[in-house]
Amino acid sequence: MMSDAPAMRPAPRTPALAGRVKAALVLFVLFALMPPLASALNDPFYVLIGTRILAYAIAAMALDLILGFGALVSFGHAAYLGFGAYAVAILSSYGIDDLFLQIAAGIVMSAGFALITGAISLRTQGVYFIMITLAFGQMAFFFFISLSAYGGDDGYSLSQRSGVLGTDLLGSDYGLYYTTLALLIAVFVLCNRIVNSRFGRVFTGIRENRTRMEAVGYAPFRFQLTAFVISACLTSVAGVLLANQAQFVSPAFMSWHRSGELIVMVVLGGVGTLTGGIVGAVVALLLEEWLGMLTHHWPLLFGTFLVLMVLFSPRGITGLIERLGIGRGRR
C-alpha cells in the first residue's frame, strides 16, 4: 500500500513543454501588437511581410508535427502550400471566393494527395523517405507547371482577395494579417492538443522506438499516415493565406526549394517543439528580408548563420533559449 503514494502525486509536467506553450503565447501577443507599432513607425509595409511570416509559421509548425514528433522528414511539403494556393486560384476563377470554402478545397486536395503519396512513401524510412517525398513534391510541381488554364509556369494573378462569410475582411492588409494570426493560433492549439493526446503519444513513441511500439501491439503505418495527412492539410491552410497575401499564384510555391526552406525553418527554430516552427519562420524570413537589403549575396550570410546554429545549438533557437534560461536559473 505504501507504494500507492506515487500514484497520488500528479505526474510532474515536463517544464520545457509548458515553457514552450508560454513562449508561444508571448509570441502571439507580440504578433498582435506588431501592426499598430508598424503604422506608428510609418512602416505599414511590415504588415504584409508579417502576414507572409505568419503563414509560413503555420506551414513550419505543420511540418514540425511530423518532422519533430515523428522523425518523418518530408521534403515535399511545398506541394501542400501549392494545393492551398491553387485552391484559391481555381475556386475564385469559378466565382467562389469564400476563404473557408477555399481552405476546405485545399484541405481536400491535400488530404487526397497526402493519403496516396504518404501510403507509398511510408513504406520506406530515413533517407529513402526524404527522396520519395521529394519526388512526389516535384510531380505536383510539374503538374501545375503544365496546367496552362491557370498560367502554367507564369502563374495566375488574383483580381481580389478572398471574402470571409460575405464580408471583405481580407480586403485590408490588417484584416488579412489578423485573420492569419487567428488561424496560426488555432493551428497551434490543434497541434498542441494532438501531440499531447493518445494519438500523439503513440506517434511520438514510434519515433522513439518503432520495434518497441510494434511489440506492444501498434501497427506504426496507420499512425504515421494519419499524422502525415493532418500535417499536409494544415500546410495547405498556409498556402491559401499566402495566395491572398501575394494575390498571385504560381508553381514556385511548390518548388523543392520551398520544401527545403520549410525544413530549415523547423530545424532553425528547434524540432519537436511546435513553437520552434514559429520562431524559425520569423527568424528565417526576417533575415532573408534584412540581409537581402544589405547585399545580393545574402544566402551566403544566411548559410553561415545556419551552419553556426546547427554547430552550436543543434536544438535550434528554442533549444538555445531554454539552455540560457536554465543557466540563469542555476546562478
Binding site: S3, R193, R198, F199, R201, V202, N209, A215, V216, G217
Partner: protein, 251 residues
C-alpha cells in the same frame, strides 16, 4: 490460461539453418525454459514466435489458434507478448509513459486526438500497477534514458505485463543482472507462475532450474532434448553439448 504450440518451425539465413524444424508444446500455465549455447538460435526463435521475423516453414498456435500469418502487433492483440534481451524501451518517455502506452494499446482507441493522455487516470493507474509488480514503482516518473541497466530489465518486464499477455516470451530477462537483483527478479517471475504461460530464454542456470517446469535444449537451431529440469541436468547428450561446456568455462 492458454497453451503455446510450435510445429516444425524453420528459418534459414542463406545456407545457415538458424531454426531447424523446431517443435515445442508448452502447456497452459507452464514455465518452459529454452537453453542453449551462444548462437544456438534462441533469440531468432523468439523473434519468429513473436512475429518480428517471418518463418520459412512451420506453424505457431496460441490456445489452438494458428497465428503464423499475423504481424507482431496483431499477435500481441492475441495475447502473445515478448520482452527483449537487449533493452528496447522508449528512451525519451518516463517509465510510467513507457508502460502506459502499452496499457493504451489494449484499452480503447488510440485514434483520439484531443484529450490529454497524461491525465487519463485509468491508464496511469494500470501502468503504475505493472511497474510496481516489476519492482519499479518508485521510479515511475524518471525518464527511461536515465534508468540503470537493472531498472531497464524491470521496465522491460513491466511493459510486457501491461499488455496483459496470455503467453509471455521472456528473452534473457536477467541479462547483465547479478547478485541480489537477480534473486529478486527470479522471485518476481515465480509470483507470475500460473497467471500466464511463459517461455523463458535464459543463460542463468540458477534461474532456469528455480523457475522452469520443463526445459528444452536448443543447439544449432535444433531441439536436442526436452524434459524436467532434473532430467535435463542428467541427460548425457545435453551435458556434452552444453552444460559440460559451460562448466569447463567456469572452471
Amino acid at each position: 490460461m492458454t497453451s503455446l504450440s510450435v510445429q516444425n518451425l524453420s528459418k534459414n539465413f542463406g545456407a545457415l539453418k538458424v531454426t531447424d524444424d523446431v517443435s515445442l508444446e508448452v502447456a497452459s500455465g507452464e514455465i518452459h525454459a529454452v537453453i542453449g549455447p551462444n548462437g544456438a538460435g534462441k533469440t531468432t526463435l523468439i523473434a519468429q514466435l513473436s512475429g518480428q521475423l517471418r518463418s520459412d516453414a512451420g506453424r505457431v498456435l496460441v490456445g489452438g489458434e494458428d497465428i503464423s500469418q499475423l504481424s507482431m502487433p496483431d499477435r500481441v492483440g492475441r495475447g502473445l507478448a515478448r520482452s527483449f534481451q537487449i533493452t528496447c524501451v522508449l528512451p525519451g518517455f518516463t517509465a510510467l509513459e513507457n508502460v502506459a502506452v502499452a496499457v493504451q494499446a489494449r484499452s480503447g482507441s488510440s485514434f483520439r486526438f484531443f484529450g490529454r493522455v497524461a491525465e487519463e487516470e485509468a491508464l496511469n493507474a494500470a501502468a503504475l500497477r505493472a511497474l510496481e509488480e516489476a519492482g519499479l514503482g518508485d521510479r515511475a516518473h524518471v525518464r527511461a534514458s536515465s534508468l540503470s541497466h537493472g531498472e531497464h530489465r524491470r521496465l522491460e518486464l513491466a511493459i510486457a505485463l501491461a499488455t496483459e499477455p496470455k503467453v509471455l516470451l521472456l528473452d534473457e530477462p536477467l541479462a547483465g543482472v547479478g547478485g541480489e537483483d537477480a534473486e529478486a527478479f527470479i522471485d518476481r517471475l515465480k509470483r507470475f507462475k500460473g497467471r500466464f504461460t511463459m517461455v523463458l530464454i535464459e543463460h542463468d542456470m540458477e534461474a532456469v532450474f528455480a523457475l522452469a517446469d520443463r526445459v528444452s535444449v536448443l543447439v544449432y537451431g535444433r531441439i536436442i532434448a526436452t524434459g524436467t529440469p532434473e532430467a535435463i541436468r542428467s541427460d548425457p547428450e545435453v551435458r556434452a553439448a552444453y552444460l559440460g561446456e559451460e562448466e569447463e568455462e567456469v572452471a
